[in-house]
């Protein structure tokens, strides 16, 4: 193990180097660029043996990864924002073809107005594409997800592509101390990719075919089962990861002081740290605040959320997303989890950080105050209050 002071992008690239992808297709886009730059340097200096393919667009980047995966190779690509949207067509091909590609997405705002800064409207718009979706909070988790992602995606019961999301700039461009596992340990954790879902001249089969109304639904059902199967596989993989590397992750969610909390703030990504600090501050004033961080949006932690919230008086969902005309996608999903569990707790939706706008400690204290007031509905941070934009 070695310690280094790295950005989220660099840490993710280190994790990918340890995962030994055989094909990397790359098209740069801010704030993802550094991850593909670092990988190209690793291929150049021989520390990563991979075919590094410069493609002409994001649509081609993922198409290339699909082709590589169909040939039985471990494939990696990375994107962000408009790039993710441009490759949207291919996201469905990759998922439907059950190709366990790993892609890093640097979460970034979507145009217009054009903006390069972080929010989560890009990846959350693709929840239905059939990909596993993970959200990292810090650079260490980013590196660890890179290593775990292939093991989860390539599991035979899962066989589903995996999107690891890093908040643009706040995580991708922030430097922090990261422990980089040893090569030998990484190899012990992650064996080479082996699959029957590939082109094989000795055993020819039809791949990426069409399926009419009589059978199509069976494939879609299987796809659904594959993503659901990831729940158990994520838990197993994290257990094995902890045994080898000593860092234990907590599955689809991570809870903080939720056990006896009256008010729980649910969020995802790199803002969770400030939420926990705010919960500490409120606790010192006698307010029973807690934080639930969603680590995986797909498969969605329905049971975990219901379990953590069952004794709460109120909750809020803070997300960097809005589905115009309704509410944030995370809020919709959380409410569905509570409804299915028969819980009737009041909770509001707090939309913040769009286009990279700073979310301050005061903003988060304000959210907890809203939750304590029993307010529901959709609230845009900075609009409608004393701080009007």
């Amino acid at each position: 193990m070695s310690r280094k002071f790295l950005s989220g992008n660099e840490a993710f690239a280190e994790g990918i180097r340890l995962a030994r992808p055989e094909v990397i297709s790359a098209y740069p886009i801010t704030p993802q660029t550094i991850v593909v730059e670092r990988l190209s340097e690793m291929v150049e200096d021989g520390s990563l043996r991979a075919e590094y393919v410069h493609v002409e667009s994001e649509h081609s980047a993922l198409s290339c990864a699909i082709g590589a995966s169909a040939a039985g190779a471990r494939a990696f690509t990375a994107t962000s924002s408009q790039g993710l949207l441009y490759m949207a067509e291919c996201l469905y091909y990759a998922a439907g073809g059950r190709f366990p590609i790993v892609m890093m997405n640097a979460d970034r705002s979507t145009a217009l107005p054009w903006n390069i800064y972080g929010d989560q409207r890009d990846s959350l718009s693709q929840l239905d594409s059939g990909w596993i979706q993970a959200y990292a909070e810090n650079a260490q988790e980013a590196l660890d997800l890179a290593l775990m992602s292939y093991k989860i995606a390539e599991n035979k019961a899962v066989s589903t592509p995996y999107m690891a999301n890093l908040d643009g700039f706040v995580l991708t461009h922030t430097y922090e101390t990261v422990d980089i596992p040893d090569r030998e340990q990484a190899d012990r954790f992650l064996p080479p990719y082996e699959t029957d879902n590939r082109i094989d001249f000795d055993n020819p089969k039809n791949m990426a075919f069409s399926a009419g109304p009589d059978s199509n639904y069976i494939f879609k059902y299987r796809e659904h089962e594959g993503v659901l199967a990831a729940k158990a596989v994520i838990a197993e993989t994290e257990k094995e990861f902890a045994e080898i590397f000593g860092r234990q992750y907590t599955g689809l969610t991570e809870s903080y002081l939720t056990e006896d909390a009256d008010y729980i703030l649910i969020t995802l990504g790199s803002i969770a740290g400030l939420c926990r600090e705010t919960a500490d501050k409120l606790r010192s004033r006698g307010v029973k605040a807690g934080v639930l961080r969603i680590r995986y949006m797909r498969p969605f932690p329905n049971e975990e959320i219901a379990h953590e919230l069952k004794n709460a008086k109120g909750y809020g969902v803070l997300e960097k997303d809005i589905s115009f005309g309704n509410e944030g996608a995370v809020y919709t999903n959380v409410n569905s989890a509570l409804k299915k569990a028969g819980l009737t707790i009041k909770g509001g939706n707090f939309i913040g950080g769009l286009g990279g706008r700073n979310i301050s400690a005061a903003d988060i204290e304000g959210i907890f105050a809203h939750i304590a007031d029993g307010k529901d509905g959709v609230h845009f941070l900075g609009i409608g209050g004393s701080d009007n934009g």
């Binding site: 002071f5 390069i116 700039f169 461009h173 430097y175 922090e176 101390t177 790199s270 990279g356 979310i359």
Partner: protein, 171 residues
């Protein structure tokens, strides 16, 4: 937690200094944590740049921009303004690279040292001045960060400039 705000212009290496300080602080001790990040956005030469370093003995999880700093280090004195005091803690200090005196700030002629070591930028000089004044990291760890994170061919001159800057303060 100690928080440092760096002000410079694109190309002056303010963020590099912010990063080196974080690397120096966390170099060998697993009980020390740091974050370093620039004011995010397109990189343009000459445009004002801010960078931030946060140092603590527990993991730094607040990733928002520093609102109250222990030190503000300014690489270009045209970026100084009296309003910056609002970004300082009560006992916070402002360190400026300048040939003239500035009321309420500590000024040093950083270019004199950078010129001596044939360096086009004053970032490692200002880093050295901060290290000397604040003691947030040792000079040895600061030198270690240059060795670990700067290209080899410019390490020696930067280590020289940093060392001279530390001496400047301590003498």
């Amino acid at each position: 937690m100690k928080e440092i705000i760096w002000l410079g212009r694109g190309g002056q290496g303010a963020f590099t200094a912010a990063k080196l300080l974080g690397a120096a602080y966390t170099a060998e001790n697993s009980d020390k944590y740091a974050l370093a990040f620039p004011s995010f956005g397109p990189e343009r030469r000459g445009a004002p740049v801010r960078a931030f370093t946060k140092l603590d003995t527990k993991p730094v999880t607040d990733r928002s921009q520093t609102e109250k700093a222990d030190y503000i280090v300014i690489l270009d004195d045209t970026l100084y303004s009296p309003q910056l005091k609002q970004l300082l803690k009560e006992d916070g200090r402002i360190i400026v690279n300048s040939k003239s005196d500035i009321d309420g700030a500590l000024t040093f002629d950083g270019e004199r040292i950078s010129a001596e070591f044939r360096l086009p930028t004053v970032n490692t000089v200002m880093y050295g001045l901060l290290v000397g004044l604040s003691g947030v990291v040792s000079a040895e760890d600061a030198i270690g960060s240059i060795k670990g994170y700067m290209p080899e061919k410019i390490q020696e001159r930067n280590i020289g400039a940093l060392g001279r800057a530390v001496e400047e303060v301590l003498s």
